[in-house]
Each structure stands twice: as structure tokens, then as C-alpha cells.
């Protein structure tokens, strides 16, 4: 009986979590439905890109979900979660920000942004190593040779003209 009660309560707990969990929203949905979502709590996921820009006790982190990047305004104590920021040399951490969505934020001069109340890391970022593409190297050697031949040809024709 005891086991049944435990299993039942665990199932109820899980079910209530599933029911109450808000689905994440994409940047396109945020932009397209900005008026309806204005001032509401949303969950948004994306790759941290560019760099963290700290302004006093808060910071801006821009998250790109592959469609657009949205500015997330967050307290500095969330920053400890972030280890990689997306750039040419890195894939940024994939973060999930929950917070209040603003179509035209009063505090930030009308920016479309999210004021985060919670931040979670979904996937770790990583360094990206770019290997040398040998074809490009070969092509540049061949083209250098062609240019050299042209320069020699020009010098010779100039000498011939002088003579």
C-alpha cells in the first residue's frame, strides 16, 4: 500500500510538472507576436553570442536561437553559468532564460528584450578549431606563379620597347 502511495504521488508530481512547464518560444514567435506576449513570462533558449556586457549589477547577454538574437537582461550572479560565448573560435553555451518579455522595454529605451529571472545551461559550448584547407593554400601558390610570370612578361615587353 505504502509503495502504491509513493508511486502515485510521484506520478502526480511528475504530471503536474509536465502540465505546468511552459514551452520554450522562438525569437521569430517573440517578434511576430510581440504585442500579445508583451509583459508576459516566457522561456527562451539560444546560444550566447558576442560577449557579456556588464552594466553595474546587471549584464546584457544576447542569445541567438538560429533565427534571431534576443537581448537578455540578467543579474550578474547568473553569469557564473556562462563559460563559452559564440564567435568564430567558439560555439557558445546553449542557455535557457525565463523572464518577462518586453516588446518595447521602458527601462531600455524601447528595446525588445527579456528581463531574466532564471537562467539555466542546456548545453555546454566548445572551442572551435579551424583546420587549414589545403586547396586554398595550393591555389594561392599557383596564382602567385601566374602573377610572377605576368610581371616578368611586363618587364620584358618594357625592355623590348626601350630597345
Amino acid at each position: 500500500m505504502k509503495t502504491r502511495i509513493i508511486i502515485l504521488s510521484a506520478a502526480c508530481c511528475l504530471l503536474s510538472n509536465v502540465c505546468s512547464a511552459q514551452p520554450t518560444i522562438s525569437s521569430t514567435e517573440l517578434i511576430e507576436n510581440a504585442k500579445e506576449l508583451d509583459g508576459k513570462e516566457v522561456i527562451y533558449q539560444g546560444e550566447a553570442i558576442g560577449e557579456v556586457m556588464t552594466r553595474g549589477n546587471y549584464s546584457w547577454v544576447n542569445l541567438n536561437d538560429g533565427e534571431n538574437a534576443i537581448g537578455i537582461w540578467m543579474p550578474n550572479n547568473f553569469l557564473g553559468l556562462i563559460s563559452f560565448i559564440g564567435s568564430y573560435t567558439a560555439r557558445g553555451d546553449w542557455l535557457e532564460a525565463s523572464g518577462i518579455f518586453n516588446r518595447a522595454c521602458k527601462m531600455h529605451g524601447g528595446d525588445l528584450d527579456i528581463h531574466a529571472t532564471h537562467l539555466a545551461k542546456i548545453r555546454d559550448g566548445r572551442q572551435v578549431k579551424h583546420r587549414l584547407v589545403a586547396e586554398k593554400q595550393r591555389l594561392s601558390i599557383i596564382l602567385s606563379g601566374v602573377l610572377l610570370c605576368l610581371l616578368i612578361l611586363q618587364l620584358l615587353s618594357k625592355k623590348l620597347k626601350k630597345q
Binding site: Y88, G109, K136
Partner: protein
């Protein structure tokens, strides 16, 4: 009777085209240096390959078409028109090799957009583009804004009548100094001085806004080049919205306005004649048209309650109006917000501002304030003439660096060019509509392309039809060269087949 061009005509064109291509190639040394500094090995090879292609092509043309003859007016114009097309194709090579564009046409689109200081982009995943390619995206407007021909005149070609003809062909009919080479060098002097000052200012702002030193300097220089040259590129996908910074926006407003000012006016101000800024017809017209269009835009935005408070109106409404009017194209909102939130009145006001543009002999596009000023002055004159007794004679003047008597010839030229621009805006709009876009969006984007602005309401995307991409490429090219060189090229082409 139309004369068929001779072999000598083609040789002259080929020779100077070769010189310009070499000049363009040499500018690729800057991204190569950047690639070495940032240890970006593949981009370094992309630019080495592109540089070599330019040097080989340029060298070939100068050898095959070697000539001592000076350029005629038509040849000068043809060289310029062709040079911009060729530069867009060659400037697109490093983009293509970087793999951040979906097709070579998209690369040419972005290269033309950069060179003509438009700022519309089809680049993919901008947030992961290397610094070297990003630098090239911002150097292109710096080359095109000052003028490719100006570069070549400054460093590669001796001053001659032919040099002046090319200079005029690039839509710069004002000589600041007596010699066209000295004028070109002055344009570069102004640009380099402002580049140093502007980059310094934006670096400080970037640091205050929480950027690292290296990013503050890199973003500062890129943003300066694109703002002063009234292009609209930025190193990040969100454009100026990425910075979320009032101070960055104020700094870019100042730089955009400086870029939209006539280089002749810069020269006059440098000579301590500060009164010129108040008396010049261009600055007056620009000021009035900014005020009028902002008035309309503010009514439109207020009516719909788009932005809360004065700060929101300044950072979104006024910023985007200045960005559009100076033909820069920097955005502090997402492209779709124009259509979804702004409403028709505000969008029309912004479209009018984009269509009017900045000053002649500046880096800005559009109809230009001088032409608008001259047309309105002539209209005012004609009304005045009706009011006065028939026998009365009066001479009307306007002030542009010096007092100039308003003649019918100037009015005719201003009206004709303005009409050509209006036709160009409408043609692009019709193509957009024919391809299924709503009228307002199609006209907005077409005006943005033809006036070399770069603001987008969401039409410009990698997925848009190729026909529209080609239309915008041609609009950017024709709009930047202000028609004459393109007409000369068309005439030359027809004469090659039909001439006797």
C-alpha cells in the same frame, strides 16, 4: 549618327579598369594583416587568393590594353560604371570562400551593398563570422563611400583630364581643391582623421558599456567605417540593437550626420568658416526635411503608442529616421517590427526620408539635399514671379559654399536626376510586388536599395527570389553612380553594335 567605338576606345577603358582592379586588390592587404594578427589562417588564404586574382586580372588588362591616351568623357564614364560592377564581383570572392553566404549571387549582393554603402545583407550566421571577413565587410563601404576612383586617383593615376572625367563619373561633380588628385587626397585625409577620432570615441563608449578592449576597438573601427560611410553593416547579427546602449546610439548619430555632409562643407569648416553650416542650402534643406519627416513619423508612432516615453521615441523613432535620412541603415529594432508595429504613416515618413538622402559629394545616397533645395527654391521663385509685376527682373541666389545664381540649367538637372531616382524607387517596388510582396514592404525595400540606405523591413533575406536580388543589385549600382555613368555604359554598349 552614332560612332562605333574603336579599338583605342576599348584599350583606354581596359587600361584604367585594370588600374582600378589593382587598386581594389591592394585594399585586401588590410584584411590579410588582420588575419595574421588574429591568427585566422583560412581567412588569410581566402584574401590572398582574392588579392592574387585581382592583381592578375588587373595586370593582364594593363598589359593587353596598354595606352598613353587620355580618357574621353564617355570612356571615363564607362570605366566607372564597369569598375563598380567588376569590383562587386571581385570583392565577393573572399565572401564566397568564407562559406557564410548561400550562393555567389548572395556574395555579389553583399559586396555591391558594401561598396555602394547600402548595408543590406544576405550573410548567414554573422555572429560566427571571423574578424577578417567582418573587417572586409566594413572596409568595402569605406572604399565605396569615399569612392573607388578616388582611391585610384589618390595613389595610382596621375592627374589629368581623364582622371577628372572618372571622378565626375563616380557622382562627384564638386572639386574641393583646384586639382582633382589633391581633392581625392583631401577626401582621404578627412576620412582618415575622422576614422581615428571616431574609432577612439566608439572604443571609449564600448569600454564603458562593458566590452573587452579588443572588441571595443574592433567594433569601434567597424561601426565607424560603416556609420561614416553611411552603410549599415555591423559585426553582429542584431545590428546596433546588439549594444543595447544609448551612448553608442548617440555616438553613431553624430558619425552618420558627419558622413552625410558634403566633403566640400567639411573642407570649409576645417578652414574655420563655421557660419557655412547655417547658411548652406544643403544643411538647411537637410535640417528642414529631418524635422518634417520626424514630425510625421512621431505622429504615426504616437497614434499607435508604439514606444513608451520620449526616450523610446528618441532611441527608436528619431534614431531610425536619422539612420534612414543619412542613408546609413543602422537598425535598433528587428526588421519585421517595421511592418508589424510601426503603421503606415510612420513607414511612409521613413521612406520619404530615405528617398531624400544626404548631401552631394558625401558618402550618402538618395536624391540629395542640394537637389531638393534647388527644386524648392525654383518653385518659390516661380510663385514669386507670378506675384511681381511682369516687367520686373530679379535674380535669385542660393548659398552653397559660395553664393550661386539659380539658373534654369541647374534646376533642370536637379529635376531630371530626382525624377530618375523616383522612377528607380518605383521600378524596384513594382518588381517586388510582381514577386508577391505587399506594396508598402516592396516600396520600402526598393527605396532602401536604390537610395543606398540599408534599412530592411524583412524582404531582404537569402531566401528571396534571385530576380529580386538582381534587381536590388542593379538599383544599388545605379543609385550610387547617379545614373549618368550607367547611361553612358548603355550608350557605349549600343554604339558597339549599332554605330557606324
Amino acid at each position: 549618327m552614332v560612332f562605333k567605338p574603336t579599338l583605342d576606345d576599348f584599350k583606354g577603358i581596359g587600361y584604367y579598369l585594370g588600374k582600378i582592379i589593382i587598386g581594389l586588390g591592394l585594399t585586401m592587404l588590410f584584411p590579410i594583416i588582420s588575419a595574421v594578427l588574429f591568427k585566422e589562417i583560412n581567412p588569410a588564404y581566402d584574401f590572398i587568393v582574392s588579392l592574387l586574382i585581382c592583381l592578375i586580372l588587373g595586370q593582364l588588362l594593363t598589359i593587353v590594353c596598354s595606352t598613353q591616351k587620355d580618357l574621353s568623357w564617355v570612356q571615363g564614364m564607362v570605366v566607372v560604371a564597369l569598375a563598380w560592377l567588376v569590383a562587386a564581383v571581385l570583392g565577393a570572392v573572399p565572401f564566397y570562400l568564407s562559406g557564410h553566404w548561400k550562393s555567389f549571387l548572395d556574395c555579389v549582393f553583399d559586396a555591391m551593398s558594401g561598396l555602394t554603402t547600402t548595408g543590406l545583407t544576405l550573410a548567414q550566421d554573422i555572429d560566427h563570422i571571423c574578424r577578417t571577413v567582418n573587417l572586409w565587410r566594413h572596409i568595402l563601404p569605406f572604399i565605396g563611400g569615399q569612392g573607388m576612383i578616388v582611391i585610384v586617383l589618390s595613389f595610382l593615376v596621375r592627374g589629368s583630364a581623364g582622371a577628372f572625367r572618372m571622378y565626375v563619373g563616380e557622382a562627384r561633380d564638386e572639386k574641393i581643391l583646384p586639382n582633382v588628385v589633391e581633392t581625392s587626397r583631401f577626401i582621404w585625409l578627412v576620412s582618415i582623421v575622422y576614422l581615428i577620432l571616431g574609432t577612439g570615441a566608439l572604443t571609449i563608449v564600448g569600454r564603458i558599456d562593458g566590452m573587452s578592449w579588443i572588441n571595443a576597438v574592433f567594433h569601434g573601427s567597424c561601426i565607424f567605417m560603416a556609420a561614416f560611410d553611411t552603410a549599415g553593416f555591423t559585426p553582429q547579427s542584431q545590428n546596433i540593437l546588439y549594444y543595447h546602449s544609448l551612448s553608442y546610439e548617440v555616438a553613431t548619430i553624430v558619425i552618420m550626420v558627419l558622413g552625410a555632409m558634403n566633403f566640400n562643407l567639411h573642407y570649409t569648416l576645417w578652414r574655420q568658416k563655421k557660419k557655412e553650416i547655417v547658411t548652406n542650402i544643403e544643411t538647411r534643406t537637410f535640417f528642414i526635411s529631418v524635422m518634417l519627416t520626424f514630425f510625421l513619423l512621431a505622429i504615426g508612432l504616437n497614434k499607435l503608442g508604439v514606444y513608451p516615453g520620449a526616450l523610446g521615441m528618441f532611441r527608436k523613432g528619431f534614431y531610425l529616421l536619422i539612420s534612414g535620412h543619412t542613408t546609413t541603415g543602422y537598425q535598433t529594432i528587428y526588421a519585421r517590427q517595421f511592418i508589424l508595429e510601426w503603421g503606415a504613416l510612420a513607414l511612409v515618413a521613413l521612406t520619404i526620408a530615405m528617398a531624400l538622402g544626404g548631401a552631394v559629394c558625401s558618402t550618402a545616397g538618395g536624391i540629395k539635399s542640394l537637389r531638393v533645395g534647388v527644386i524648392f527654391k525654383a518653385l518659390y521663385n516661380d510663385v514669386k514671379r507670378i506675384m511681381l509685376p511682369e516687367a520686373s527682373v530679379f535674380i535669385e541666389k542660393y548659398h552653397h559654399i559660395k553664393d550661386v545664381i539659380l539658373e534654369d540649367r541647374q534646376v533642370r538637372s536637379a529635376v531630371l536626376i530626382s525624377l530618375c531616382y523616383l522612377c528607380l524607387y518605383v521600378i524596384g517596388g513594382i518588381v517586388g510586388m510582381a514577386l508577391g510582396y505587399p506594396a508598402l514592404s516592396a516600396l520600402f525595400e526598393s527605396t532602401s536599395a536604390a537610395a543606398n540606405v540599408g534599412l530592411s523591413c524583412g524582404v531582404t533575406q537569402a531566401g528571396m527570389p534571385a530576380a529580386l536580388k538582381v534587381t536590388y543589385i542593379l538599383q544599388m549600382w545605379v543609385g550610387r553612380l547617379e545614373f549618368m555613368s550607367v547611361f553612358a555604359l548603355a550608350g557605349f554598349f549600343i554604339a558597339s553594335f549599332r554605330g557606324k
